[in-house]
Symmetry: C2
Subunit: 347 residues, 2 copies
């Protein structure tokens, strides 16, 4: 895909005329996979910020595999005739809030538009890491990385010298969990992926010590082969058989950060780990978490992982599309798997 | 059963002659349930305590449902021709150790004999609770109570006002867990038991707010009825369906102390909780533990629960048999279910 940026029609800020924003709306509900023609660029007039509010100019946004997508048949699609939403990084242009000032960089959930007025409490101020592009806060320094960071350090209490198993390691969170584990001094990092090709990427590109493809009925055996002396920490993105294999491999006082679950393991009829009773004798801790409870750790993550990103010690990939009006094409491309790594739109 | 104590033949201490101890040995391996005739009282001469050792006069011992018992077919039986063992409380008579002094009360694992020489590090000194009989340290203030205390407070982090579910609550640990939960300010304590009669006891005698009998396929439904607004803490002694019901009922940030498992849920083919993925969204923590990692909490438990025992705020039951020579009969009686509560032998 080749994208070029057309002439901008936006007026930044509210000085000198009405405050206009360009937004991407879903024009019609697609029957199957959406096409760029299902979306429309709409220019709307914004009310200027009231007390406690800020006007934000969006710099970039991430395109997430949200509905309407066959991958999420149960979730509601975006409403028709309203702007879509998703993670974005913006700059405060005007502030009616005591904490935020013009020029501040903020992370929020109102992408798919070039500017927006928001309550200050619904945005997260970012302390910028020198030398790092704003799009990094949607990828290598974004919520997935915060989830990996919090899951490993706060939920699983990773200590240097431990053996870490990351299930579903080729996903956005998993690939960061493996790298953070290694940089925090794990003795050995093992990952699983959905295919042998992706497993090979984990060891070749992302520094995993061992990785293997999911193979139904063989996860425990493969994990035992990759970690013959057992594991200390499991960062679980899959559940089901992967979790059962981890419980079998965990050494005494091992910890499991329950971060995610594959769709087939999320149903009420999916079999649970048959060996959970081992958690008693082995004194295991299994703990579910949501990154949204741990946003206060963002500054710590930015400081620590930000330094690694700047030093080139973290491998991450992004596909960048230039121009808000190409966001629908980026979204369709993401659903078709045309991206490598995070799909970013610069606005 | 009526027991009377015959004339003692023991010489306390090592002064004035050889140091003799009476021990109960397994004389022959029983084919099925043991009979008192399978045991023998043997008088042995002990070597006096060496450096770091103490001579202990046992005051009382607990009879546990250890093998040889059909309930534990997989565990090794006591060896023939050697003393049996089990929890006992004794008094230090002579000490060659710097920490322990004559008169100190100690808990150890060498019951089934009237006196014994042990390394000081293999006994636990008890700070006696005034007004409490030594046998209490084997029952209401013993290891089961420490497990209940640690499981609720340290593993599950119980806070006042929370709703607590104890599975297998009619057992030694469960009945204490329910009472400690109540005394620590739980808003509501719910228990399960193996029969309706035992469930009724939990509410009538032990202060549970609600209790119900295990009924296969109905635990979740009954728990939901007993705790319509959900639970915060599960103290699990059963696993399997009980744990699945708890996971369904737990509110966000709920905690499970994994303390024990029923034999049918301990096999590798037993189904695991099918709803474990709920632990992610609900931010649940499941943590297995062993009381032996937490012996340092014994003084805290003794101070807190000991005060409740002295004040009559803890309900506990014991069946007391007088005389070491009746320990085999007490053991056989225990295996036949002739006891009410803890089976104690005063020595």
């Amino acid at each position: 895909m080749v994208f070029t940026r057309p002439e901008s029609v936006t007026t930044w800020g509210s000085l000198g005329g009405p405050l206009l924003a360009r937004e991407i709306h879903l024009a019609a509900l697609p029957a199957g996979l959406p096409e760029p023609g299902d979306f429309a660029v709409v220019t709307v007039e914004l009310a200027p910020p009231g007390p406690g509010q800020v006007l934000i100019r969006n710099l970039c946004m991430a395109v997430e595999p949200y509905p309407p997508s066959p991958a999420h048949p149960g979730a509601p699609p975006f409403p028709v005739g309203q702007p879509l939403d998703g993670p974005a990084v913006g700059e405060v242009v005007e502030s009616m809030d005591d904490e935020l000032r013009p020029g501040d960089l903020v992370l929020h959930g109102y992408g798919w538009r070039d500017q927006v007025v928001l309550d200050a409490r619904s945005v997260l101020r970012i302390d910028p890491v020198p030398g790092v592009d704003p799009s990094a806060y949607l990828g290598a320094l974004g919520m997935s990385t915060l989830a990996a960071y919090v899951g490993l350090l706060d939920i699983a209490g990773l200590r240097p010298g431990e053996v870490v198993f990351v299930s579903g390691a080729a996903g956005e969170i998993g690939v960061m969990a493996g790298q953070i584990a290694r940089l925090k001094g794990a003795a050995r990092v093992i990952g699983t992926a959905g295919s042998q090709a992706r497993a090979d990427q984990l060891t070749r590109r992302f520094g995993f010590d061992a990785a293997f493809a999911d193979a139904e009925g063989e996860v425990a055996e493969r994990l035992a082969a990759a970690a013959p002396d057992g594991i200390d920490v499991c960062f679980d993105n899959v559940g089901g058989e992967h979790l059962e294999a981890a419980i079998a491999a965990l050494r005494p006082h091992g910890r499991v950060a329950l971060c995610g679950v594959a769709p087939q393991n999320a149903t009420e009829t999916a079999p649970g780990p048959r060996n959970l009773a081992l958690a008693i004798g082995k004194r295991l801790t299994l703990r579910g978490f949501s990154v949204y409870d741990h946003l206060w750790r963002m500054p710590d993550m930015l400081a620590e992982v930000g330094a690694w990103v700047r030093e080139g010690r973290i491998v991450f990939q992004e596909t960048v599309v230039h121009g808000l009006e190409f966001a629908p094409a980026a979204y369709v491309g993401l659903l078709r798997g045309e991206n490598t790594g995070k799909m970013i739109v610069r606005i």
